[in-house]
C-alpha cells in the first residue's frame, strides 16, 4: 500500500520549476550583454531546447508568438529612437524635420538628424528585451504556468487560485473574441473597423466575466475553500511570512541581476527571504486537509537543468567581472562584434536540457504529440488560431 506511486515523473516532462529557473537564468544572462551575437545565440539555444522537449499541449506552440512579439519590440524601439530619441553623433543616415518644443519640454526632442549609431544602439537594446521575452516564452512552452502554480506551497494556495483565475481570464477573452466575431458574421454584422470593435467589446467582456462567475460557482461546488482546521492567526503568520520572504527573494534576484541597484548587493536579501519562505511553509504545511495529486518530483534531471541555466548566468557574470572583451557592443568607434569565448561556452552548457531532460511522455507514450482530435464546437478553433 505504502509503496504505491503517487508522484509523477516524465508524464508531462520535467518539473515546471526547473524549466522556469533555467529560462530565468538565460534571461538574466541576456540582460547582461548588448553583443548581438551572444543575444542571438541565447535565443537560438532557447528555441532549440523548446523544439526538442516541448509537449503536445496548445501552449507549447506559443514560442512563435514570443518571437513575433520580440520583433515588434525591436521595431517599436527603433521607431521611437528615430522620432524621439537622443541625437547621438555619428554617420547621419537621414534628417527628419525638427519640431521645436516649448522650454518646459526640454530633454525631449522630435525630429532632427538620425545617425546609424543611434539606430544600431536602439536595435540592440530592443533585441536584448526581445531575447528576454523569448526566454520566458520558452519556459511557457515547456511548462504551462498552471503547472507551475500547482507547485506553489500550500500556504500560498489562495494567492495561487487568484492567479489561476486571472490566467484563465486571458485565454477566455481570446476565445470570446473568436466566438463573438463568428457570431457577428453569422448575423451579418461588421467584424472589422470601428463599428465592429465597438459592437464586440461588450459581448466579449460579458462572456469572459460570465465565465469567471461560472468558474467561481464550479469551484465552490467542487469543494474549494472548505473549512480550514488551522487557527486563523497561525495561518496569517504563515502566509505573511512566506509572502514577505518571496518579496525579499525577488529583491535579491533583482539586486544580483542589476548590479549596484541595492547598496548591500542581492545575496543577503536572498538569504533572509529563503529563510522566511521556509519558515512559512513549515508552519503552513501542517494545516489544511487539502492534499496534492501526483505532485511533480524534483530529482537529478531537474538539478541538471537548473545547473545548466545557472552555468550560463555564471559565465556571463564572470565575464563581466573579469572584464572580458566583447560583452557590450562597441559603437564608438564602431566594431564588428566579437564572440567572447567564456560566455559562448556558457551558452553551449545551456543547451544541456535538450539532452538531459526526459522527453515528454517518453515513459508511457501517452503524452506524446498524438493526433489532436478536432473540436466539435465551431467556437474553439479561433482561439487556437489566435495562439499561433
Amino acid at each position: 500500500m505504502s509503496g504505491a506511486r503517487t508522484t509523477r515523473r516524465g508524464r508531462l516532462g520535467l518539473h515546471p520549476g526547473a524549466w522556469w529557473l533555467w529560462a530565468g537564468c538565460m534571461a538574466g544572462a541576456a540582460i547582461r550583454t548588448t553583443n548581438p551575437l551572444l543575444l542571438a545565440l541565447i535565443a537560438a539555444a532557447a528555441a532549440f531546447v523548446v523544439s526538442t522537449r516541448r509537449t503536445s499541449a496548445p501552449w507549447s506552440r506559443s514560442l512563435i508568438v514570443f518571437f513575433r512579439l520580440g520583433l515588434v519590440v525591436i521595431v517599436v524601439r527603433v521607431v521611437l529612437q528615430v522620432v524621439f530619441g537622443n541625437r547621438l553623433p555619428g554617420h547621419v543616415l537621414f534628417t527628419l524635420p525638427h519640431v521645436p518644443l516649448p522650454s518646459w519640454a526640454r530633454g525631449v526632442s522630435i525630429g532632427g538628424p538620425v545617425t546609424f549609431e543611434a539606430v544600431l544602439q536602439a536595435a540592440v537594446e530592443g533585441l536584448r528585451l526581445a531575447v528576454v521575452l523569448i526566454c520566458f516564452g520558452a519556459a511557457n512552452s515547456l511548462a504551462s504556468p498552471y503547472r507551475l502554480l500547482r507547485c506553489l506551497p500550500a500556504v500560498l494556495y489562495e494567492a495561487g487560485v487568484a492567479v489561476t483565475v486571472s490566467l484563465a481570464f486571458a485565454p477566455e477573452v481570446v476565445m470570446a473574441i473568436g466566438n463573438v466575431r463568428d457570431a457577428r458574421r453569422l448575423r451579418g454584422r461588421p467584424t472589422r473597423g470601428v463599428a465592429g470593435l465597438r459592437g464586440m467589446a461588450i459581448p466579449v467582456l460579458e462572456a469572459a466575466l460570465d465565465r469567471s462567475l461560472q468558474l467561481a460557482s464550479s469551484m465552490d461546488a467542487r469543494g474549494y475553500g472548505r473549512r480550514v482546521t488551522l487557527a486563523r492567526n497561525t495561518r496569517r503568520m504563515a502566509s505573511g511570512s512566506s509572502a514577505a520572504g518571496l518579496l525579499l527573494v525577488m529583491a535579491g534576484v533583482y539586486g544580483i541581476l542589476d548590479v549596484g541597484s541595492l547598496p548591500v548587493g542581492g545575496i543577503p536579501f536572498l538569504a533572509v527571504g529563503a529563510v522566511l519562505v521556509g519558515a512559512g511553509m513549515a508552519v503552513g504545511g501542517r494545516r489544511t486537509e487539502r492534499t496534492r495529486y501526483r505532485p511533480d518530483v524534483w530529482r537529478g534531471p531537474e538539478w541538471a537543468v537548473t545547473a545548466s541555466g545557472a552555468a550560463v548566468l555564471a559565465s556571463f557574470i564572470a565575464a563581466s567581472v573579469l572584464g572580458v572583451q566583447g560583452m557590450q557592443l562597441q559603437i564608438y568607434p564602431l566594431h564588428v562584434p566579437l564572440l567572447p569565448l567564456l560566455p559562448t561556452a556558457g551558452i553551449l552548457v545551456g543547451l544541456l536540457p535538450a539532452a538531459v531532460a526526459p522527453a515528454p511522455g517518453g515513459r508511457s507514450g501517452t503524452g506524446g504529440p498524438g493526433p489532436l482530435e478536432p473540436s466539435e464546437s465551431v467556437a474553439v478553433e479561433p482561439a487556437e488560431a489566435a495562439l499561433t
Binding site: 453569422l186 448575423r187 454584422r189 511522455g361 489532436l372 473540436s375
Partner: protein, 542 residues
C-alpha cells in the same frame, strides 16, 4: 437521501415562483429521472440539490432542502462537495484546471483524500469512462463528447453518494451516450449511488430509471411515480411510449425489448400496408444550392476534413451524422464561411462564402451554432427580434413571428441570458431563419429541446425545405433524422463514409436506427407518425 420540504423558489425579479411547494424525497441508491418541458424548472430543481440555487443565483428560497441530513440553508455548496457531485449542462463551463488528469483530481484534492487513494480512483475512473487515451490532454482541445465524459469523471472520482446530472448525454453521439448511461447504471447497482438526472432525450434513459419526476412548469405540483406510470400521462414522452399510445399498449413498454414483444401483432397487421414513401432526394432534378469540392481542413497536424465532395440541392434536408469529433461542425462552418478551406473549394450559389461581406452572407447562408447563446447579445428578447428585423431589412415583426412558430410563449422582456437553453436555441433559430436563406445549417439543433418544441422545429424545417431551401443538420438525434431528413451523410475522421437516402442509412445502422425502427424491424417504419398513418390507412386504428 435528498429531501425537499415545502420548497418554493423565486428568482430575483421574477413574478411567479419557478418551483412551488415542492415536496420530494429521493432515497439512497435510486436512479431518478427528472423530465419536463423546456424552461419548466428542471435545472433549477437540480441545482437546488447542492445549494447552487440560491447560493450562486440569488432569488428567494422558502422551505428546506436537505441532503444526507445537511440543510443547504446552513451550509454552502462547498461543504456538500463530499456528498454530492453536480455536472451542469455545459461541461466546459465547469472546468477548473487545464488537463484531464488534474481536472479529475481537483475535488479530491479539496477534500483531502490521501494521494494513494486519489491515484487509484483516478485510474478506475479513466477506465470506467474510457478516458485513458486522453489523460494528459489539455481540456480545451477535447471534443464536446470527450469534455462531457471528463466532467462526469471529475465528479465521480471523489465517490459522492449523490450524483446530479443535467442533460449528461445531449452532446454525445448515440454510442458514447450509451456508454455513459450504462456506467451510471452500474454505479447505481454496484455502489448504491443515488443519481438524479434531467434529460430531454428520454428514449436513451427511460429503461434505466427507477422513478420519474415530472416538472410541469409554471409552478404546478410535481408528478412523481414509477417510470411506466408517469410516462403514460407525461406530455413529454419518447417515441416508444408514443407508439404504445397509438397501438394502445398498457402499461407502456419502456425498452425496445419489451416493446418488441408487444409489437408482434402490430407488425403482422402492417406487413401488408403500403410502405411509407418517405421523402426522396431529388435525383439531379433539383437546382444546386451549395457544393464542396475536394474540401480539406487542417488544424495544425490534424485533418478535420479530408477531400470532402458534397453537392446540396434545393429542397433537400441533409443530416450530417458521425461520432463526436468526426468533422461535422467543421463542415458546417465551412459552408457558413467562417473560415477558408485549407484545400479545395466551397461555393454557395456559385459564390465562395468565406469571401463574402457579412451582410451579403446572411442572405445566402444561415448557421445556428451548437451554443446558440453566442448569437444573442441584445438586452431583451423583444429587442433582439426588432434589431434582427432592422439589420436584415425585414418587415418589423418577422423575427418575432418566426419565434412564435418555433416556440410560442418566450417572454419578450426577458434577457436572453436568463432564458432556458431551449428558449435560447429557439430565439437564435428564429433570428437565423427569418431572412429565409437558401442554405440553412443547424448544428445540434435539438440539444435541450423537449418533444413538443422538437415537433414544431420539424414542422418549420419541412416547410422551409418545401419552399425550396436546403437544410443541413449536424446531429446525433436519430429520431430527428428519421422525421425530417431526406438524405444522410455519415462522416468518420473527416471523410464521408456514407451518403444516401436517410431512411436507408439510419434503418440499416445498429447505432443510428431510431427506436420505432428497432421495434418494427424488419418492417420499414421509422416514426410514430408513419405507423399512425399506416394504421389509419389499413383501417385498424385502435
Amino acid at each position: 437521501m435528498i429531501r425537499f420540504s415545502k420548497v418554493t423558489f423565486t428568482y430575483a425579479e421574477a413574478q411567479v415562483p419557478t418551483l412551488r411547494d415542492v415536496d420530494l424525497a429521493i432515497d439512497e441508491g435510486e436512479l431518478c429521472l427528472v423530465v419536463g418541458q423546456t424552461g419548466s424548472g428542471k435545472t433549477t430543481l437540480l441545482r437546488a440539490i447542492n445549494g447552487l440555487v440560491p447560493h450562486f443565483t440569488g432569488g428567494r428560497l422558502a422551505g428546506d432542502v436537505s441532503i444526507a441530513g445537511r440543510s443547504t440553508r446552513e451550509v454552502p455548496p462547498r461543504e456538500l462537495a463530499d456528498v454530492v457531485g453536480v455536472v451542469g449542462q455545459d461541461p466546459a463551463a465547469s472546468f477548473v484546471t487545464d488537463t484531464v488528469e488534474d481536472e479529475l483530481a481537483y475535488t479530491m484534492e479539496n477534500l483531502g483524500i490521501p494521494p494513494n487513494v486519489m491515484r487509484r480512483r483516478i485510474e478506475d475512473t479513466l477506465d470506467l469512462l474510457g478516458l485513458h487515451e486522453l489523460r494528459d490532454r489539455t481540456l480545451s482541445t477535447l471534443s464536446g463528447g470527450q469534455q462531457q465524459r471528463v466532467a462526469i469523471g471529475a465528479v465521480l472520482c471523489p465517490s459522492p453518494r449523490v450524483l446530479v446530472l443535467d442533460e449528461p448525454t445531449s452532446a454525445l453521439d448515440p454510442a458514447a451516450a450509451e456508454e455513459v448511461l450504462s456506467s451510471l447504471t452500474r454505479l447505481v447497482h454496484d455502489v448504491g449511488m443515488t443519481v438524479v438526472l434531467a434529460e430531454h432525450r428520454l428514449e436513451r434513459v427511460i429503461p434505466f430509471a427507477d422513478r420519474v419526476v415530472l416538472v410541469p412548469g409554471d409552478g404546478q405540483p410535481l408528478v412523481v411515480g414509477p417510470t411506466a406510470e408517469v410516462m403514460g400521462m407525461s406530455p413529454v414522452a419518447p417515441p416508444i411510449v408514443e407508439l404504445a399510445r397509438v397501438a394502445g399498449w398498457v402499461p407502456v413498454p419502456l425498452s425496445v425489448r419489451d416493446a418488441r414483444r408487444w409489437a408482434e401483432p402490430l407488425r403482422r397487421r402492417l406487413s401488408g400496408a403500403p410502405s411509407p414513401r418517405g421523402s426522396v432526394p431529388g435525383e439531379g432534378g433539383t437546382p444546386l444550392v451549395a457544393r464542396a469540392h475536394g474540401l480539406s481542413v487542417s488544424y495544425g497536424q490534424l485533418r478535420a476534413l479530408d477531400e470532402v465532395d458534397l453537392e446540396l440541392g434545393a429542397g433537400e434536408v441533409v443530416a450530417v451524422m458521425g461520432r463526436n469529433g468526426s468533422g461535422k461542425s467543421t463542415l458546417l462552418s465551412e459552408f457558413a464561411g467562417l473560415r477558408s478551406p485549407s484545400r479545395g473549394r466551397v461555393s454557395v450559389l456559385g459564390q465562395s462564402p468565406a469571401d463574402l461581406a457579412p451582410r451579403k452572407l446572411i442572405r445566402l447562408v444561415g448557421l445556428v451554432p451548437q451554443d446558440p447563446g453566442v448569437l444573442l447579445y441584445g438586452e431583451s428578447v423583444g429587442d433582439e427580434c426588432s434589431t434582427a428585423d432592422r439589420e436584415t431589412g425585414l418587415a418589423p415583426g418577422t423575427t418575432a413571428a418566426m419565434l412564435d412558430t418555433v416556440l410560442p410563449g418566450v417572454p419578450r422582456d426577458r434577457h436572453p441570458r436568463d432564458l432556458s437553453e431551449g428558449q435560447r436555441l429557439a430565439l437564435a433559430m428564429a433570428i437565423v431563419l427569418a431572412p429565409a436563406p437558401p442554405l440553412l445549417l443547424l448544428d445540434e439543433p435539438t440539444r435541450g429541446l423537449d418533444y413538443p418544441s422538437k415537433e414544431r422545429l420539424v414542422g418549420v424545417l419541412l416547410k422551409l425545405a418545401a419552399g425550396g431551401a436546403c437544410v443541413v443538420l449536424a446531429t446525433h438525434d436519430v429520431e430527428l433524422v428519421a422525421q425530417v431528413a431526406t438524405r444522410a451523410v455519415v462522416l468518420a475522421q473527416g471523410e464521408v463514409v456514407s451518403d444516401g437516402v436517410a431512411r436507408e442509412v439510419v434503418r440499416h445502422s445498429p447505432v443510428f436506427a431510431p427506436q420505432v425502427a428497432k421495434v418494427m424491424a424488419p418492417e420499414p417504419w421509422l416514426t410514430v407518425d408513419e405507423v399512425r398513418t399506416a394504421l389509419v390507412g389499413s383501417g385498424h386504428e385502435t
